[in-house]
């Protein structure tokens, strides 16, 4: 696998570390443009990602994880949303309000994407070959024969057996795991510096999930790629990622290394997510589910958005605005009472 289109030699020079983070999202605000005005969906998100680093993004359904991915892909406008403030620094360029002419040089080329619903990502009426050739020639014009050869190599990179046969198949003929491999292969076609994978295994069996996660982590190491992995499963993120950003109601709540964030969090929401896990729960003991539901967009509570569900919340939390991120111990946290949280819960 070290020869093919993705060989490390091909990328020499591209991966030089200039000490700058690859991606830095600062105080990002995103909103939907509705007839009655702007509906904020992200306010505010922060994320720093080094070269070759893997960061996990967790949060309950509706917290804005997919919209964050779309911000990094420059596809917000396709979903009726736009950046309202903040920066998306990628390779030291601010893409926050970049025009499509700039995004089209970045999207699918320097940043690859595996979308949340991969069934939707693959077009059912054209075969795998057409789709792979499109992904490959998007940035590098070449003959169809060459592109086909590269498509086979890419499918082999993602460990698809009988790659030549699979090229002739349609997505509905593929199993969930195979479909996901094809999506990853297409995302790798331009040797991206960053892969954004939005819940790449949520719809898959545990056994297939294990294969896809193994594949993603290996490719990342072999290709020197950075990774944003969205998941609602902390166990998945612990397996794959170096760092973690926790999102709730459109805001970054906590960030830090995976191990500290999971085992010694400085935000009650992170702790609550961890406590609700079933994989580490004792049989027969009730799970410590988080009471209630996360707020829907347009009805975020004032003050800290988590206070209606927070065991530590008090009047001070209800007043004012959503607390901003600050450093406490090794963590970035948006809780005003972070200091009260001990040095780990297990």
């Amino acid at each position: 696998m070290q020869s093919g289109p993705l060989s490390l030699e091909n990328r020499a020079g591209e991966l030089q570390d200039n000490g700058q983070p690859l991606l830095q999202i600062r105080d990002l605000k995103v909103g939907f443009a509705k007839s009655h005005g702007i509906l904020p969906v992200i306010n505010t998100a922060n994320l720093t990602l080094g070269r070759r680093e893997a960061i996990g993004v967790v949060g309950e359904s509706g917290s804005g994880k997919t919209m964050l991915c779309r911000s990094v892909l420059g596809t917000l406008d396709r979903h009726g949303a736009r950046v309202l403030g903040g920066q998306i620094m990628f390779e030291a360029h601010d893409l926050a309000n970049a025009p499509e002419s700039v995004w089209s040089k970045v999207r699918g080329k320097q940043i690859g994407y595996v979308p949340q619903s991969s069934l939707a990502g693959l077009n059912p009426v054209i075969n795998v070959k057409t789709q792979m050739v499109e992904a490959i020639t998007a940035a590098r014009p070449m003959s169809v024969q060459d592109a086909e050869k590269e498509a086979v190599e890419l499918l082999e990179v993602v460990r698809i057996p009988r790659a030549k046969d699979v090229l002739r198949e349609y997505s509905y003929q593929l199993s969930g795991g195979m479909r996901q491999r094809v999506m990853i292969a297409a995302a790798l076609a331009q040797k991206p510096k960053l892969l954004v994978a939005d819940e790449p295994t949520t719809a898959l069996d545990v056994t297939v999930q294990k294969e896809i996660l193994t594949l993603i982590s290996r490719l990342r190491r072999e290709l020197g790629m950075a990774l944003i992995l969205v998941s609602h499963d902390l166990a998945v993120i612990e397996e794959v990622c170096d760092s973690l950003m926790v999102m709730y109601a459109g805001a970054s709540f906590e960030a830090g290394s995976v191990s500290v964030t999971v085992h010694a969090p400085r935000h009650p929401y992170t702790k609550a997510l961890h406590d609700s896990r079933v994989d580490t729960a004792e049989r027969g003991k009730p799970l410590e589910a988080i009471a209630g539901e996360p707020p829907t967009i347009g009805s975020w509570p004032s003050g800290c958005r988590f206070w209606p569900r927070c065991p530590l919340g008090d009047d001070k939390c209800r007043a004012g605005d959503q607390p901003t991120l600050r450093h406490v111990a090794q963590q970035l946290t948006a809780c005003i009472y972070a200091e009260r949280m001990g040095d780990g819960h297990d």
Binding site: E60, S61, G62, R159, I160, P161, S175, G176, A203, L204, D205, V206, T207, V208, Q209, K210, E211, L213, T214, L215, S217, R218, H232, D233, L234, A235, V236, E238, E239, V240, A272, L273, S276, R277, V278, D279, A281, R283, G284, P286, L287, E288, A289, I290, E293, P294
Partner: protein, 277 residues
């Protein structure tokens, strides 16, 4: 094994006896479920695990009476549910005892029905209540599933995935069943919504004596909720037994694979991909 209950145990509430479901014809025929012996005792929480395509949903459909097995029998409280072969239909007078919650809460709820209406419809059908009485009972069931009266007024698309799944459970509880078959009920919802649902299911089982057949591809979930488990692979039950035993001392290599696949149970670095030479 299938008859071990005869010698001492109480009669199973629901049982598939040597059940086979064959799909396709001629050379293409295959058994989606192959000679399965599966039973659930009254009040018991039993798991079925296996990968996609292993036959879990087909087995569930047979047990809930949605389709007859090609061969074998399904017994509810000792009586075959499909009657004489000519009239292979689960009689309505018995059907209320076995209820099912489906994998996908989007497609199982009518998008044009408010949450309480979906439940009230089942309440009318099974408890014969009408109008306000049906609504009151629907709201009570919904509240027991953590759905407030305000949320009960919503249409499904306005509810979260976890809420929709809890509405489905409330509706399944309308006939006051003896057993609930839950087919991957948490696979489309996030971890904290999953915790809420699992708590409610285990509470129903412990406090109301409802038997539960919990189907999942995730042995981690089954471990938490059930006391006995069947492992299915390509239509066959390849292992069964006490959940803790199966989890700690799996006998079948396939069970071991399922356990090692649970995130955190074996390192990715040591995982070999199936197609690697």
């Amino acid at each position: 094994m299938p008859n071990e209950w005869v010698t001492g145990m109480t009669e199973p509430l629901l049982e598939a006896r040597a059940a086979t479901v064959t799909y396709g014809y001629g050379g293409a025929a295959f058994n989606a479920v192959n000679d399965a012996n599966v039973y659930v005792q009254p009040g018991e929480a039993v798991g079925v695990v296996g990968e996609s395509g292993s036959g879990k949903t087909t087995l569930a459909r047979v047990l809930v009476g949605l389709q007859p097995p090609t061969k074998g029998n399904v017994l509810l409280e000792g009586k075959p549910i499909f009657g004489a072969t000519a009239q292979r239909k689960f009689p309505r007078s018995e059907r209320w005892k076995v209820q099912m919650v489906f994998q996908d809460p989007y497609s199982s709820l009518n998008p044009r029905q408010r949450a309480w209406e979906a439940v009230a419809e089942a309440v009318s059908a099974w408890q014969g209540l009408r109008g306000n009485q049906a609504k009151t009972e629907a709201l009570r069931l919904l509240r027991s599933m953590g759905i407030s009266p305000e949320q009960a007024e919503q249409f499904p698309h306005r509810l979260s995935g976890g809420q929709r799944q809890r509405v489905s459970v409330a509706r399944a509880l309308a006939p006051k069943p003896k057993i609930l078959i839950a087919d991957e009920p948490t696979s489309s919802i996030d971890q904290s919504a999953q915790a809420q649902l699992l708590n409610l299911l285990s509470q129903l089982q412990r406090e109301s004596g409802l038997a539960i057949l919990f189907i999942s591809h995730d042995l981690g979930l089954v471990r938490y909720l059930t006391s006995r488990v069947y492992v299915m692979k390509r239509g066959d039950v390849v292992e069964q037994g006490d959940t803790v035993r199966v989890f700690n001392k799996p006998e079948n290599p396939y069970t071991r694979l399922l356990i090692n696949s649970i995130p955190g149970h074996s390192s990715l670095a040591e995982t070999t991909l199936p197609y690697e030479s």
